[in-house]
């Protein structure tokens, strides 16, 4: 469904350039949930934005649904692929109600039956009809993230990209949102890429996982391999050990 070959993203700033992503290649099959894990500066979010066409990139191959993805996406391209951002407090327009936010994609693409679609989307993500006309500041972080997910799915895209969707949420809220994402990807047979710094989160939802470090791809492993520790790269081992928590020095 998604093919990435030799993807690189370079940011130019005043003094020089910075290679955020360096020659990364991987494939995501239809219906698969692919994870990308890394620490800060690893380039994981940048890869996602490059696939979505939000940042300029160079690549030998960048295909979505078998067709090459151009740097400038058309409106039709946008219906293929949607994005959920990390910060629930920044991804919703502060002056628009939930209804406005959900209607917008439908209006842009001229989809009829907006009313029922909005109601269904709200119910789908576990919100109540009473939330429909609220403004973002009247919603909690978890509720906002649900709206962001509803917005991403309202046009029924086959592909969903999630950039640290639960990093800004409490543990209990995170659990609800992860369960929601799980349920939705199953019902709609979504192909998704989930980016996170949290190994446990990624292992919970994803089939295969790419480990990123400072812009480079370290290795791609399965969630099981992650659990059993059957990995080849030393860095991956370090990550796994670190995510288990702190080990006390023997006194």
């Amino acid at each position: 469904m998604i093919t990435v070959g030799g993807l690189s993203v370079t940011f130019r700033s005043g003094r020089g350039q910075f290679r955020a992503v360096d020659d990364v290649s991987f494939e995501v099959a239809a219906g698969e949930t692919f994870g990308i894990v890394g620490e800060s500066g690893s380039g994981k979010s940048t890869i996602l934005k490059a696939i979505a066409g939000l940042v300029p990139s160079t690549s030998a191959v960048l295909e979505v649904d078998g067709r090459p993805a151009a740097q400038r996406r058309s409106k039709a391209d946008r219906r293929m692929l949607q994005f959920v951002f990390q910060d629930p407090y920044a991804s919703l327009h502060p002056r628009q109600t939930v209804d406005d936010i959900l209607r917008e994609p439908l209006e842009i693409h001229g989809v009829a039956g907006a009313d029922e679609k909005v109601q269904k989307a709200i119910a789908d993500v576990g919100l109540l009809p009473t939330h429909r006309f609220r403004y973002p500041h009247q919603l909690s972080g978890g509720q906002r993230q649900r709206v962001a997910i509803a917005r991403a799915l309202i046009l029924s895209p086959p592909i969903l990209l999630l950039d640290e969707p639960t990093s800004a949420l409490d543990v209990s809220v995170q659990a609800e949102i992860l369960n929601l994402i799980d349920r939705l990807r199953r019902s709609y047979s979504l192909t998704s890429i989930l980016v996170s710094h949290d190994l446990a989160v990624v292992a919970h939802l994803c089939d295969r996982i790419a480990i990123m470090r400072q812009g480079r791809l370290v290795e791609i492993i399965t969630a099981d391999a992650l659990r059993t520790g059957a990995v080849t790269a030393g860095y991956t081992r370090e990550l796994i050990a670190a995510s288990r928590g702190f080990t006390r020095a023997v006194a």
């Binding site: 620490e39 543990v171 209990s172 659990a175 369960n179 799980d182 292992a203 288990r244 702190f246 006194a251």
Partner: protein, 278 residues
């Protein structure tokens, strides 16, 4: 265990706001010896406010009251601002989440740490420098001479936190309150910083209060854990017994945390029981 360092009984923190008074901490009671106590809670649980109350850092019009709140025999409730200034840094100290926001951006690292040292230990310039460099070494900074002259914005996250720890421990307090000290750090750096804390706390026989929302880190680093919800301490147990906790909220938190070792089809969600707020 010897005489407890900190005794808190019936701590209440009330924060008046536009819509009325919020009881950020309700009737909190616990003791702390020379051990590591973790305080775990989600946002709004009151854990950060409690940490601040223990250092007299709850700003007006907030009100801190308690039946007892004493540290090494000193009644903290009766402290004036002057008393607090003498206590903070010298006898109890706090490390906060993001060194970007808690270090002075216009002073070099060496000067900031030196300031704390001079203020509390009244050392002269040479002695201060010596101690600062020694402290930077103690927090595993490889090039203390170089880092001494750096400004906070030139430090990486992990180094910034180490500088923060150096600054807070140089005056040799007996109690350190760490409020989400590793939450802004990458997971590999986290463990390095925790190791430094581990070594220092053990070597100096200090008491440590570790406030965090991250159950995994707290349960692996601390000896005992307090669970907070809605301003109240709802559960208390040994860190190693967390998996077998009895309180429903604790169990729910543990079950809701995704873990590499316990794969589950669905994560348990927390069904909030209003009983917990009583």
């Amino acid at each position: 265990m010897s005489e407890p360092l900190l005794i808190v009984d019936g701590l209440e923190v009330a924060l008046p706001g536009r819509t009325g008074v919020t009881r950020a901490v309700r009737n909190a009671s616990f003791t702390l010896g020379r051990e590591r106590l973790g305080i775990v809670g989600e946002s709004g649980s009151g854990k950060t406010t409690m940490g601040r109350a223990l250092l007299g850092l709850v700003p007006r019009p907030g009100m801190v009251t308690a039946k007892t709140m004493s540290y090494e025999g000193t009644n903290l409730l009766a402290c004036s601002e002057r008393d607090w200034q003498r206590l903070r840094g010298r006898r109890l100290s706090m490390v906060m989440q993001d060194p970007k926001y808690s270090l002075n951006p216009v002073k070099t690292v060496g000067r900031q740490i030196g300031e704390t040292c001079r203020l509390h230990l009244h050392t002269d310039r040479r002695e201060t420098d010596r101690r600062v460099l020694a402290m930077l070494e103690a927090v595993q900074i490889r090039d203390p001479d170089l880092v001494y002259h750096l400004y906070p914005h030139q430090l990486s996250g992990g180094m910034g936190q180490r500088v923060m720890i150096a600054m807070m421990l140089i005056a040799e307090p007996d109690l350190l309150i760490a409020d989400e000290p590793t939450s802004a750090l990458d997971v590999t750096v986290q463990n390095e910083v925790l190791r430094i804390l581990d070594d220092l706390v053990r070597d100096r026989g200090m008491g440590l209060i570790f406030i965090s929302h991250n159950l995994t880190v707290v349960s692996s680093f601390c000896d005992r854990v307090l669970i907070m919800y809605g301003g109240r301490i709802v559960d208390e147990c040994l860190a190693r017994d967390l998996q077998h906790a009895s309180h429903p909220y604790t169990r729910a938190l543990v079950a809701a945390t995704p873990s590499l070792d316990n794969p589950r089809a669905e994560l348990a969600t927390v069904a909030r029981d209003p009983e917990w707020l009583k």
